[in-house]
Assembly symmetry: C2
Homo-oligomer: 759 residues x 2
């Protein structure tokens, strides 16, 4: 069982597909599990490193919005905070080490309904004695300040002794970079450990209090005299307990970590009551209850493909666990709070990939994501001005301030042996159109005019101004957007990227629409005139004769490259080991959906023929080196009725994090991929889209599914969509009557009414 | 073999006692071996962490004198530098992990004659295939810039494949604190890794170049196509090689790390030639040759107690490996360059414990240690002035500048739960007398007047001035030194500490002696008069009626405490878990030799009766919580003819680092303990002392030894001392005729002559 046969096992669904399960102790999967089994509540994220220390583990505790710069020359990032989770256990004096004591039984499972992570193991010590052990933990969704741990030890061969060594360890760092000054360490009342630390780079302050002790559930277990013992060391405060367990007894030891941080919406000054050993069960019940609305928002599949069902639940668990509820002081990073990938920075991912699930499920949380941008509108205005543009130019990568945080160089140029330049920060401008798009879609889904008035509209107007100033008139008399990077980051410095131009027009049109509706923040007539001119003259790439939409002005005339080997490679972006970004720039090689992303966003805009031809042309040329890519392809293929192709891509999307690649998620989960997976189901197989304010559905089933159902919030209503066999039903569960469309048939539903349809 | 039976094995001597051997892979001993098997050449120290990563390992690479402050609130310390040693190996695709693949054979040995550390292992993979592996390394004493690594892999069941992953890792830090800014990472010529980094806190600059490749000694082994591969990541540059080995073949892969640092005497700008794979053997031979003079200076024991012989050789190996040769820009820290204990700071240890071995063996290196102090005389002058004293007041703990670096608080007060105050930095003044003592003894041993003229004498004069200003006249009309901490740090704020007062007088007398000899730097007559007055009136505690010398004015009247339990405790300073420093201050409890240290330094000064009574009184009250303590007791007991008691303490001293305590040396070896071990032999059992410029010897053998011999440099001569049975012989091997004394009999020896004597 403990053998490393080179084929690391996959993570599996439990029988009810409500738990993500690791069935054997596998060091190759440390990073993957740390991220995928991460505990989180939108306020903090705690990576699922084992309590014991093992080489290759990366402990992590991160707080939403706690960005800071550790030292000169470093990027702004989320600091990795002092660790309260590690705990060394000795059984009859022997250190618990699952590498040495190959467990006879092993199961680690994250319960997606409660967020509890529990590890059960049966081990035999070198001395030949058997123990049943359980380590459990959760970060409370009911009180985001609380992280709870529970340890159960049962000696099966008579009496035994257990020594525990744990505490708060300020030695953790971000890849060796320390954000915090030496903390203040105290032991209160010979019992509670307290560690307070401050990050000079940001002023972020953190105080951890660790309460621990024997729980009432213990039987025939008692602390030994002379304990607990305490120790302080550099950046570390430690407690040692020692217990004797009689025959037939069990030790239950609980630890509670109370957090007070100067980030987020929680008031760090408000005193928090410390729980008592024994409270774990009650506190878990409270948290499980807080998770209930997430359970209601999760789609259900009727299928034997439990991996599909699990993937959707894992995706939604993480989307909830990583979404802050702080009214816009922070947003969602590309890895959420599950790892240090991209330094916790915010990309278009948040609005274009995670936002849809939120706005159709938890609109109030979705609004916070957009508020984050509104609050940083001034930074975007400054950036536009600095670059010689008008309006607001949003950063490709941002953190706390809204300034551009994209590194200038990254990765090794295989030819020169030096770091390669990164152009996204300078050239990937479509994000400013994406945000306006997201605001418009959010309003469409929520009718939240208050948000529009409190900055949403201003964002759209400022974005539109930017695009007008960004475009340049060409010899053909049309307006062109030159020298950009589109979503496909393997194509740099391109002109008239289709995605960018279409989205820019949509942005300007949204501004004009708001103005027509007489929004008070609308620009003056002269400026509106310029916007109308932009909308009229902006060059929109048209499909070729064969229906293929050109990704950009030059792409279709570039030489081609067979990318199948790189698509199958063990690791993402393996292509960059052999080709420099400059090489790729000269080839018809896509990192991810670009024109296809456009098809996804604007189904009405292109004929089925164009969409099909475009999809079929680009997909084989796409390496899918971005987690954003496969699910978008799945959605587009599903809407085109290509359900087999769609399902293939859906599986590919599901496997981005949950697939066999052992190191797929070491630096954190792929948050946008999770959002995209939900979109593949709802907008792809569910065929959900909104046109003229009417929600429309054209559900289609892949052969692997007998049916699916998902809830949807739309303008204050709660709808339920169910697909089965060749048909579907839309039901209005809550809210005022509303018009919906199923398979092209319109119906007005009152509460409790449903419409059924067949394809 | 891989079982953890709770009784970690000891490190053992090889049959010839020239190697320190670990006979089984034992995680409990990681820290101990990392320190005791540390590679070093006085310029750098590389901890002996395994090439593979294991939890609990602490990698460390330190450069003499590279002190800096990483961030505000941190102490100045030796930065832990980017690691070039780690290497992951995969055998037939399976990761080499000695915790999982319990080795069938295992032996790790540090050869004390060459400094080469070699680990031999026979492992069976999960796939059931057997491999013979050897990992070897050394830090060259011939070219201190060079660290070399060699890896040998032999598949015993036919063909096999080996993948290697290694590089330079800038993520290492000092207990989670990072000194270096992100480094510059390059791959030169698709082969050489280069990592350059700078520590903003100190300006210390470091460049590591890593050359690697297949050595000619390989047989039927070839690199696979597509390799080597390279990768850069945050603070890390990685190379991956992949080899196919045919049946009967062997892979020999060598790595050479060339260091250029802005610290130390080596010119960082001078270009260094990079070795080629295959050069390992030649370079090792050069280093082994450079170690030869160390081998000559090592004492020989004729005994079956190989542990005694080994301990002396380990001690001398480390003393050499940690002694810089940079003419005083740096000195020797309490842990040398083997760990982060005491942050690499310099204490009285260097002059009072390590210096004697150096001055009687390698006088030119010894001079550097004193130059370090001379160069920091101004800082000591400033410190004296700042504290309202005259002359020079040296810091208790110092680093680069010579300023006081002792932390103000450390350890947990068991009663309050807060950090406890540390008084050494403010009150442990004897160091200023110790340095003058060391200078006088160095001159006595070397006749190095040039050193005296270039600052040695100035140091003595300034120290004497300090003591005159430090003393205060009491009601008895005598001069007293109040409120100090003596060598026994469990007694704080004491008056007239015997050690301090006697050493202060010796310091002033040494100054007066230099003045009498008409040294040009001598102070004016008025000041000399004040020094004479000090010498005449300083209060020197006298023995009580029973012969016991009072450690200080109040000690003998304090309540007593049975310390036997703490002496036997698994860990040092266990007493501080139950008693606060304040508690101990009110008890007759000694941390270490204090009055006994005085007996050791001034054998002439006290009668045998006083010495015996004093020793017998204090020893049982001493916890020996300092590594400086047991060997000094051994030396004093041996000179008193108590050879059994002396041998017991000698073993205790030997076991400070080499004994069974698994974590004795995690933070580094006990450098002063090593120096003291040599003194226990030479000055204790050898009975060596110098009086009126004449070296005197009264060798005595513990029953466990048949004999011993050691070389000694004295005033340009090379002497050899040999003891056997009840007698001994002193031989002049080199240099002008000299008068020596053996068992009270004087003789003038010409080169090649010897004197024999019996007790």
């Amino acid at each position: 069982m403990r053998r490393d046969d080179g084929r690391p096992p996959r993570l599996e669904p439990s029988a009810d597909a409500w738990s993500l399960v690791e069935t054997r102790f596998e060091p190759e999967l440390f990073g993957k599990c740390e991220s995928l089994m991460c505990s989180g509540n939108g306020y903090l994220g705690l990576r699922a490193a084992h309590e014991e220390d093992y080489a290759g583990q990366r402990r992590g505790l991160y707080f939403a919005g706690s960005f800071g710069r550790a030292m000169e020359g470093e990027s702004v990032e989320l600091p990795n905070c002092p660790d309260p989770a590690a705990m060394e256990a000795r059984l009859d004096g022997e250190r618990l080490d699952l590498l040495r004591l190959a467990p006879l039984e092993y199961r680690r499972a994250l319960d997606l309904r409660s967020g509890e992570l529990a590890r059960d193991a049966l081990v035999r010590t070198a001395a030949g004695r058997t123990w049943r052990l359980r380590h459990a933990r959760f970060a409370s969704l009911a009180d985001p300040r609380l992280i709870a741990f529970r340890f159960e030890a049962r000696p099966l061969d008579g009496r035994g002794s257990v020594e525990l060594r744990f505490g708060i360890d300020g030695r953790v760092a971000n890849a060796g970079v320390q954000h915090f000054a030496e903390g203040e360490q105290r032991v209160l009342g010979r019992s509670i450990l307290r560690y307070a630390a401050r990050a000079p780079g940001s002023g972020f302050e953190l105080e951890l209090s660790l309460v621990s002790g024997l729980a009432g559930a213990s039987e025939r277990a008692a602390e030994r005299p002379g304990h607990p013992r305490f120790e302080v060391d550099r950046r570390r405060i430690v407690r040692e307990d020692s217990f004797a367990i009689e025959r037939g007894g069990v030790l239950v030891f609980e630890r509670f970590v109370l957090v007070r941080a100067s980030s987020g919406a929680l008031d760090a000054t408000e005193p928090v009551a410390l729980p008592d050993p024994g409270d774990y069960g009650r506190l878990l019940a409270e948290s499980r209850n807080a998770w209930s609305d997430f359970r209601e928002s999760a789609p259900d599949l009727d299928t034997d493909a439990l991996d599909d069902q699990l993937a959707l639940r894992v995706a939604l668990y993480h989307l909830r666990a990583m979404t802050p509820d702080d009214g816009g002081s922070s947003s969602i990073g590309a890895k959420g709070l599950t790892g240090e990938g991209y330094r916790g920075h915010v990309f278009w991912d948040a609005e274009m990939f995670m936002l849809p699930f939120l706005q159709y499920g938890r609109p109030e949380l979705a609004r916070g994501i957009l508020e984050y941008r509104v609050r940083r509108l001034d930074a975007a205005r400054r950036r536009a001005a600095a670059r010689g543009y008008e309006g607001a130019m949003f950063p490709w990568e941002s953190a706390a301030t809204g300034d551009e945080e994209t590194p200038e160089r990254a990765g090794l140029d295989p030819h020169t042996g030096n770091l390669a330049p990164v152009w996204s920060g300078l050239k990937e401008h479509h994000v400013t159109a994406d945000l306006a798009w997201a605001v418009a879609k959010f309003r469409e889904a929520t009718d939240d005019d208050a948000f529009m008035d409190s900055g949403g509209a201003a964002l759209v107007f400022e974005a539109a101004r930017f695009w007008r100033s960004r475009a340049a008139e060409g010899p053909d008399g049309a307006l062109h957007i030159n020298d950009v990077v589109g979503p496909d980051e393997y194509s740099e410095h391109v002109d008239d990227n289709a995605y960018t131009n279409y989205l820019a027009k949509a942005c300007v049109d949204a501004a004009l629409e708001l103005a027509r509706a007489g929004h008070p923040a609308a620009p003056a007539e002269a400026e509106l005139e310029r916007l109308r001119d932009f909308s009229a003259r902006i060059h929109l790439p048209e499909p070729r004769g064969d229906g293929v939409l050109p990704q950009d002005a030059g792409f279709l005339s570039l030489p081609e490259l067979d990318v199948s080997a790189y698509r199958a490679a063990e690791r993402k972006q393996a292509i960059l080991r052999e080709h420099s970004r400059e090489d790729l720039n000269g080839l018809q090689v896509l990192k991810q959906a670009d024109a296809v992303m456009l098809l996804f966003l604007m189904p009405e805009r292109f004929t089925r023929e164009v969409a099909l031809a475009t999809y079929r042309y680009y997909e084989p040329r796409t390496v899918h080196d971005s987690s954003l890519s496969p699910a978008i392809h799945a959605a587009v293929a599903a809407r085109l009725g290509e359900t087999d192709e769609a399902y293939r891509r859906f599986i590919e999307a599901r496997e981005v994090d949950l697939g066999p690649r052992p190191h797929s998620s070491d630096d954190g989960v792929h948050a946008a991929g999770f959002g995209a997976l939900w979109m593949a189901l709802v907008m792809g197989f569910g065929g959900f889209r909104v046109a003229d304010g009417v929600p429309r559905f054209e559900p289609r089933l892949p052969t692997a599914w007998r049916g699916f159902a998902f809830p949807l919030r739309f303008r204050g209503r709660r709808l339920r969509v169910e697909a089965r066999g060749g048909g579907a039903r839309i039901e209005l569960l809550e809210g005022d009557p509303i018009e919906v469309e199923l398979y092209g048939r319109r119906a007005r539903l009152a509460r409790g009414e449903a419409i059924d349809g067949k394809r």
